[in-house]
Amino acid sequence: MALSSLSLYSQAIILFAALVLFTSFVMLAQTRMVPLIFTFAWQGLLMAVATVLVAIVSGHKHLYISAALTIVLKVGLIPWLLYRLSVRLDMNYETEAIKHPSLLLLGGAGLVIFSYFIALPIVHLSGLATRNTIAVSIAVELLGMLMMSVRGTAMAQVIGFMSMENGLFFAAVVSTYGMPLIVELGVAFDVMVASILFGVFFFHLRDSFDSLDVGHLNLLSEANEPAPLAETPAASTQGEHA
């Protein structure tokens, strides 16, 4: 099915899906904290616009509520919480060194190809106009996972986690026109609680190691220096919670 045979609204959905994918790549390569948070907010906004467009095309009214929820939580509340945290922890001008940025981005492109391959059977079965974007939503999820496994700072990992959730939400919207509203509300509430828990986790990490680099959690503290020994158990239990 050629793109030009779709209606302008459906074309716009596909355009916004591509932009959501693009923001995922930007987040993967963004080393500074505050722009990273803003990029995450942009991803939420683009997704909310795409959801509204899907609602217009499909006529499902409850998608408007999902879009409003996305705007309130993922464009407003969570970025604001994270921003306030980074200011309070004095992390807002920090940068993180990524070892091989080009390799990371090429790996991301590989994940997009992989998710296209995964989504191909679904695309053949589905009859929706938005079926091509399923691959994009899987890719957003996998890119979030890649971000969580490659990036070192807690902030980047939390944003990777949230962007995985974005991918899930987007997959639900484009493949089945949204999850049941009660599930969506539950997930939104979970994400909000998670972001508050992450805040506590940040503070403990900061107190124990004077840095947000989660690599410190992998080290046995006896092996290095005895100073943070007293607080290490508290930090690791918080890590398990989060």
Partner: protein, 319 residues
């Protein structure tokens, strides 16, 4: 006169117009830039005066300059001329557009760059070698991004021929293609790098540490320098027209009537003026990057082109 000879006459006229208008575009860019930076602006005709002055001057050659050094300005100008002939400026389906598709166009630029680098090494000064090495570094990164962006467009048009691609976009009307958006951004970034504009290179500077392109042609003067500078102006115009042809071709003449052609001239003039203003704003807002950040800049351009290609496959053709 039969239609075949009319088409060839038109093609020759278009190429001539392309070459003659290129210094005007450069003058317009300089003038708008001066206005934007609160400086007294030279006339738009200044590049013509500069070229005329350079052509009249006596040639001074270094003692150890070989035949290659003397031949290179003509090779560069010739390659750029051929490239200009292949790009549709005011009308599509001219016979010269069959000379070269986009890949050959990239090849013409590579040829010109290769010989410029050789000539820079020929005299044996330190600047020439440094400039050549920098230019080749930038080119090696810009070329894959450019080709990837071009392939994205070619996949939609099912052809790498410029005329056919332009006509496909023209006939499709308004289609929101994410791949075109990404390819446009990638092509803009590559064009900035290839034409030696800020933030990759500064065409107005002769400060040794920041030069890229200028370092290579430091030994040239007289009519040789005139040819090389003219070729650089044509190259800027080729990139601008390429971007217009691929993404905003509306107004270009698809038949050879007087009214369609005049609309084509007006449309392309207006679009070039706007694009030049965009370039000026971009150059005024940004500062020149360190050389070691250029690979990141071009890596981002490559990623955009790659995303364009992927979205084309994943989103626009599937099912």
């Amino acid at each position: 006169m039969n239609s075949q000879s009319i088409a060839w006459t038109l093609a020759a006229a278009q190429t001539l117009l392309f070459i003659l208008a290129a210094p005007l575009l450069a003058g317009w860019v300089k003038r708008v830039k001066c206005h934007l930076q609160n400086r007294a602006a030279p006339a738009v005709w200044q590049p013509y005066r500069d070229l005329a002055k350079l052509i009249k001057k006596n040639l001074v050659l270094a003692e150890n300059a070989s035949w290659l050094f003397r031949a290179v300005p003509y090779i560069v100008f010739g390659a750029t001329l051929l490239a200009a002939a292949a790009v549709p400026l005011i009308a599509v389906h001219l016979p010269t557009s069959a000379i070269a598709d986009v890949i050959v166009l990239v090849g013409f630029f590579a040829l010109a760059r290769f010989f410029t680098a050789l000539a820079a090494l020929d005299i044996g000064t330190a600047f020439g070698g440094m400039g050549a090495s920098r230019e080749m570094t930038v080119a090696a990164l810009a070329e894959p991004a450019m080709l990837m962006a071009v392939f994205t467009l070619a996949m939609t048009a099912h052809s790498t021929n410029l005329s056919v691609a332009t006509e496909t976009v023209l006939q499709a009307g308004l289609v929101l293609r994410p791949s075109f958006l990404f390819a446009l951004l990638a092509l803009l970034m590559v064009a900035v790098a290839e034409c030696g504009r800020i933030p990759v290179d500064n065409p107005a500077t002769h400060l040794e540490l920041t030069m890229l392109h200028e370092a290579m042609i430091l030994e040239y003067n007289g009519r040789h320098l005139a040819l090389i500078e003219w070729a650089a102006q044509i190259k800027l115009m080729i990139y601008a027209v390429l971007i217009i042809d691929f993404f905003f071709p509306w107004g270009i003449a698809s038949e050879f009537s007087a009214s369609a052609l005049s609309v084509g001239v007006l449309a392309v003039t207006a679009k070039l003026m706007l694009l030049a203003m965009l370039l000026v704003v971009w150059e005024t807002v940004l500062a020149k990057m360190r050389l070691f950040r250029v690979p990141q800049f071009l890596g981002f351009a490559f990623l955009l082109a790659l995303l364009g290609m992927l979205t084309n496959v994943v989103l626009e053709t599937g099912g």
